[in-house]
């Protein structure tokens, strides 16, 4: 018993520093935001009166609704595009690339991370912009007369940029799930009379679903709150929810309303994530 206590004490003292650290840098800001969201905004000051007004405003404001909907749609489209494009890449690396080359391929896939996120976003602006790489080369080649506008400072260009930025995050979990599939299961599928396509549909895809769902979560959660890409690519004209929070918090100095926006956005993300986690649990349960 004494030994157990000693072990427990040792364990607790080991956990304590990171626990405090996590408390300070994670929980404290979140709680502060939560607290702010129930306070009243005064001119140049915060009045310490409990109120639901901020939330009422968030719920009723049509602009918030537009921006929130846009954020959700962008995040969903980015997630769909990223995962759909990542699956063939992961499949290729797992099933086609020779085993001794796989780690090289994974290494190459992570190359975009060698530069900072901001620089990559700027580069996409250079590529997609009015006088960017795509437009100037297409005009130069005489394929188009005037620059394409559908990739310019709009939701499409935000989707392209984000889909590129998050591609490795989607490829890796799907790759891991595919790697875990016993190859004899695919032969068994063929042996039992199914074509390659049907074997993929009935065996490979269901067994890869935990990886796909993980990829969906990993891409969806950060993209919905992305701040940099709409700011840089969209030129500030097509804000997403993070940009709106920034404006409320800093430009308009309305911290309570900004906090209420942030908390609402977090709740929406949490609900959607929980739905996916639940789905993932169902698939994972089968795999054990």
């Amino acid at each position: 018993m004494a030994k157990f206590d000693a072990e427990a004490r040792a364990g607790l003292s080991l956990i304590a520093p990171p626990f405090l650290y996590a408390l300070v840098i994670l929980a404290a800001p979140l709680l502060t935001i939560l607290a702010y969201s129930f306070l009243t905004d005064g001119y140049l000051e915060i009045i310490r009166d409990f109120t639901w007004t901020n939330y009422a405003q968030v719920m009723s404001d049509p602009i918030v609704r537009v921006v929130m909907t846009r954020s959700l749609i962008v995040a969903m489209v980015v997630t769909a595009v990223t995962v759909l494009l990542a699956f063939p890449v992961a499949y290729y690396v797992s099933f086609v690339v020779r085993p001794e080359r796989k780690s090289l391929w994974l290494f190459l896939i992570t190359i975009p991370f060698w530069t900072s996120y901001l620089i990559r976003v700027f580069l996409w602006k250079v590529i997609l912009g009015y006088n960017g790489v795509v437009n100037s080369s297409l005009t130069g080649l005489g394929i188009i007369d005037e620059p394409l506008t559908f990739i310019l400072y709009n939701v499409n260009s935000i989707v392209i940029t984000l889909a590129h930025a998050y591609a490795p995050f989607a490829i890796l979990p799907i790759f891991v799930a595919l790697e875990k599939i016993d190859r004899s299961l695919l032969e068994a599928g063929r042996d039992l009379g199914e074509s390659r396509a049907m074997t993929f549909w009935r065996v490979t895809l269901p067994l890869a679903m935990p990886g796909v769902l993980a990829a969906v979560l990993i891409v969806f959660i950060p993209t919905i709150g992305d701040y940099v890409t709409p700011e840089v690519i969209g030129g500030g004209k097509i804000p997403m929810i993070a940009n709106m929070i920034q404006v409320q918090m800093l430009a308009l100095d309305n911290r309570p309303l900004g906090s209420a926006l942030a908390v609402t956005a977090m709740l929406i993300v949490a609900v959607i994530s929980l739905i996916f986690l639940f789905l993932n649990r169902r698939f994972l349960k089968v795999r054990q």
């Binding site: 299961l185 032969e187 063929r190 199914e194 269901p206 067994l207 698939f283």
Partner: protein, 372 residues
């Protein structure tokens, strides 16, 4: 049990993996309803041959026919074969019943009929009532039964089994061997078994093809394979075979007269002479441990020949005792005494003899095989 119609025919089948010659001209006919085994050490090409029959491997040259139809470009999913994989390959995301029903998707029968077929297949392999369980909750033996039911429900012309018992413990393996034989008789389907376990092949098969380095070394029934192995290598691979150097004195008609170290002169008729095998170093006489008898002091026997020997080693196995003997007149080989192994059943009243005892070995020329 077997009808004469050939079910699988391989004609001069070759398979290369790059430079590696995995199958070197396989000629083979497996009859309908036969329990056929491919036996050999790992890397001998037996699994490759099974996978070419299943359609998982292309052949480099030659012809494979199943039920008289050439299989050339027929993909695995269109062949009248089903396979029980070494790992069983049970789909982990499906229940037992869903696994068994996997191949029935395009079956025109209705849902209820299919469910009845699944139940029937499961009870055939002794898993009645397991349908709703998820596949990962099964033991090794149960997984194998699911794999069997999943393949047999499709009523294939040939069932291919890739080392199906190697992952089971000894008791379970012996039980499954008997069950597989019964099952094969019951369904009447041609079974082709790949195994490296010679005992398993002998127990289960109607005929066995022994393979070494991509070639069939011998194709025979179990008794013929055991009693008359065609080469020393086959003899060595299947069970225990003692070898003694021999000198061929004369070869008149079908009869060969040889002088065997330790045993003396014997005349052997043609059926006791193996096929010529140029790899062997000189002629050798081989015999199985159980074909000779150790005769205790003062005991009598009814064998035509007798040889004096000294007991070098005794290994007690409970029901059996193994004796390693030095025969009088056998030269040492490589600086070690050349011994032969004799097995004796420990029947009531027979004492186990001790190391160093001078003893007599009774035998008959009929138990000898000449390898040359």
């Amino acid at each position: 049990m077997t009808d004469a119609k050939p079910m699988i025919e391989c004609r001069d089948v070759h398979k290369y993996y790059g430079d590696y010659h995995a199958l070197r001209g396989i000629d083979l006919t497996i009859k309908g309803g036969e329990f056929f085994s491919l036996l050999g050490p790992s890397g001998c090409g037996k699994t490759t041959l099974l996978r070419t029959i299943a359609g998982f491997e292309d052949i480099s040259s030659g012809v494979v026919l199943i039920d008289g139809r050439e299989m050339g470009d027929v993909p695995a999913n269109k062949r009248p074969t089903n396979m029980v994989f070494q790992s069983y390959a049970i789909f982990p995301h499906l229940t037992v019943a869903e696994n068994v029903a996997f191949g029935l998707r395009r079956d025109p029968r209705g849902k209820a009929e299919k469910a009845a077929a699944v139940d029937e297949a499961l009870s055939m392999v002794g898993l009645k009532g397991y349908g709703a369980r998820s596949a990962h909750a099964l033991s090794g033996g149960q997984r194998q039964r699911v794999a069997l039911a999943r393949a047999l429900i499709l009523k294939p012309k040939v069932l291919l089994l890739d080392e199906p018992l190697s992952a089971l413990d000894r008791k379970m393996r012996e039980q499954m061997q008997v069950e597989l034989i019964k099952l094969q008789r019951q369904v009447g389907i041609t079974f082709v078994l790949v195994t490296h376990d010679q005992e398993e092949a002998l127990v289960m098969s109607d005929r066995i093809a022994v393979m070494f380095e991509g070639e069939i070394a011998q194709l025979d029934g179990p008794e013929a394979l055991y009693a008359r192995p065609s080469t020393r290598r086959v003899a060595d691979f299947i069970g225990v075979m003692n070898f003694l150097p021999a000198e061929i004195l004369s070869h008149v008609g079908g009869t060969v007269t040889v002088d065997v170290a330790g045993l003396g002169q014997v005349e052997l008729p043609e059926h006791q002479i193996s096929r010529a095998n140029p790899d062997d170093e000189g002629a050798m006489i081989g015999f199985r441990p159980e074909t000779m008898t150790l005769v205790g002091p003062g005991a009598t026997h009814n064998q035509p020949r007798e040889t004096n020997a000294t007991i070098d080693e005794v290994v007690y196995y409970g029901d059996m005792t193994y004796y390693d003997l030095r025969l009088d007149g056998v030269a040492r080989a490589d600086g070690k005494a050349r011994t032969v192994r004799i097995s004796m059943r420990n029947v009531f009243g027979r004492d186990v003899q001790e190391v160093g005892t001078r003893t007599r070995l009774a035998w008959s020329p009929g138990s000898l095989v000449l390898f040359r």
